[in-house]
Amino acid sequence: MNAPDRNLHVKAPGVSELARIVRVNEEIKAIVSTAFRINLMALNAIFLAKRAGNAALGFGVLSNELRRFAQELTRHMATLRDMTSGSVGSVTGVVQQQRTSAILAEAIRLSGDSVPGVREARRRGATRLAEQQACLRSLDQRLRSAVEETQQLVELGGVLARSAKIEAAYGGTFSPALMQVSTDFAEVIAQIKRSLEILGKERLVKD
């Protein structure tokens, strides 16, 4: 008979998967909060453009577009958030199955492979784990596609912010104020881009 592992510290490989979901969620929360800021900034920019009158007509149009962009970004992030909340259930299933399979494997190691029923039990566990991992992988792919779509949207936001900067130069006496607002837009959008890049690199399952 094999020597028993008296301290059954079965490795819990799923812990890192859960940690990844937490990181993804944190990044989504950061983007959602930034999108909310853009929305407020765009509202202020619309008022500022109105005060500037004809000199800031173009800036006003762009501010409206940036506001719409912020609202669209919030919708995208809500979808991403729903996907990650759903993935917590899938990851937990994988974690439980991995732990169960690992303890059963230790029991089989101690008892020997010839004990009736153990091979079938191991096969059933492996099948269930493979199904759960496949489900998680599909969720991961959908999450990646959704992040890519959001990145394209943010590219558009970047173009709007750059155009706003150009329009600000024609703002007459309001030009410095409009320039400041458009610079703020550009910085915030750059921040969202960085967050999305991090999000794009996260994987719910290891390749």
């Binding site: 169960t100 190691r109 009736p116 029923g117 039990a121």
Partner: protein, 246 residues
């Protein structure tokens, strides 16, 4: 490491005790598991916690074909009793788990689904195993509010869950109680603190005194046999329970 010891055998009717694991990690309470085998079927009493599953499975497999397990008897809901449930079901998904109706919706947190559980009503029930008729004996509030012991009238063995438990030092590793007075010192504090109802205790002692019992097998500590069974019941009847200290 845990080993299965045959404590009763008549033809193909056996009781196995998987007891007294001196090598387990000290931070986990030591537990005894019992297997009733009759013909082609086996019933595992209080299978233990998740952490000790490999040791229990291995010990059981050494003495009996684990695919013959038909059911699990869970005296109550504690983790050291039944937290390994999901693992036993992983091995044998059609296992039935007999437990108090009170815990029927709590135990699925450890594993299993609706069809896994056979609820035992408060007055108890008969559990058939091969040709045997085992009796689930009410032991409510000793210590759990939904608690059962398992009596085998043929073998005259009463599996008594936490009643009769003793937290023995590592060097007291005998399977059976050898010196009742020395042994019972290690059971006193446990029973005073864990057994919450004096009324339930007196009721249990009265009922159990009328039963024919050759062995009283608890979930922790050594097994009482022969005259020590009645000695224990008398000691328990006189013990003040439900006290924090003293």
């Amino acid at each position: 490491m845990k080993q299965a010891h045959c404590i009763y055998q008549e033809d193909d009717h056996r009781w196995l005790a998987i007891a007294r694991d001196a090598t387990k990690p000290g931070y986990i309470i030591d537990t005894n598991e019992y297997v009733v085998v009759n013909g082609d079927e086996a019933l595992l009493c209080d299978p233990g916690g998740m952490e000790i599953f490999p040791a229990v499975f291995s010990a059981l497999s050494a003495e009996c074909d684990p695919t013959r397990l038909a059911g699990i008897f869970s005296s109550h809901q504690d983790p050291d009793i039944i937290s390994s449930l999901a693992l036993w079901l992983e091995f044998k998904p059609d296992l039935k788990c007999y437990t108090s109706w009170l815990w029927q919706s709590f135990l699925p947190h450890f594993g299993g689904q609706d069809s896994t559980f056979i609820p035992i009503p408060d007055p108890g029930m008969t559990i058939r195993l091969g040709g045997l008729e085992l009796q689930a004996i009410p032991a409510h509030y000793l210590h759990s509010s939904g608690n059962f012991h398992l009596y085998d009238p043929k073998a005259k063995i009463l599996f008594s869950g936490d009643v009769g438990a003793a937290l023995l030092p590592a060097d007291h590793n005998g399977l059976f109680v050898e010196d009742f007075s020395r042994h019972i010192r290690h059971a006193e504090a446990f029973h005073k603190r864990w057994m919450g109802s004096d009324r339930a205790k007196r009721d249990w002692c009265e009922r159990v005194s009328r039963m024919e019992i050759d062995m009283l097998v608890p979930q922790h500590g050594a097994i009482y046999q022969g005259a020590d069974v009645q000695r224990f019941i008398n000691w328990f009847a006189a013990l003040e329970v439900g006290v924090l200290r003293g």
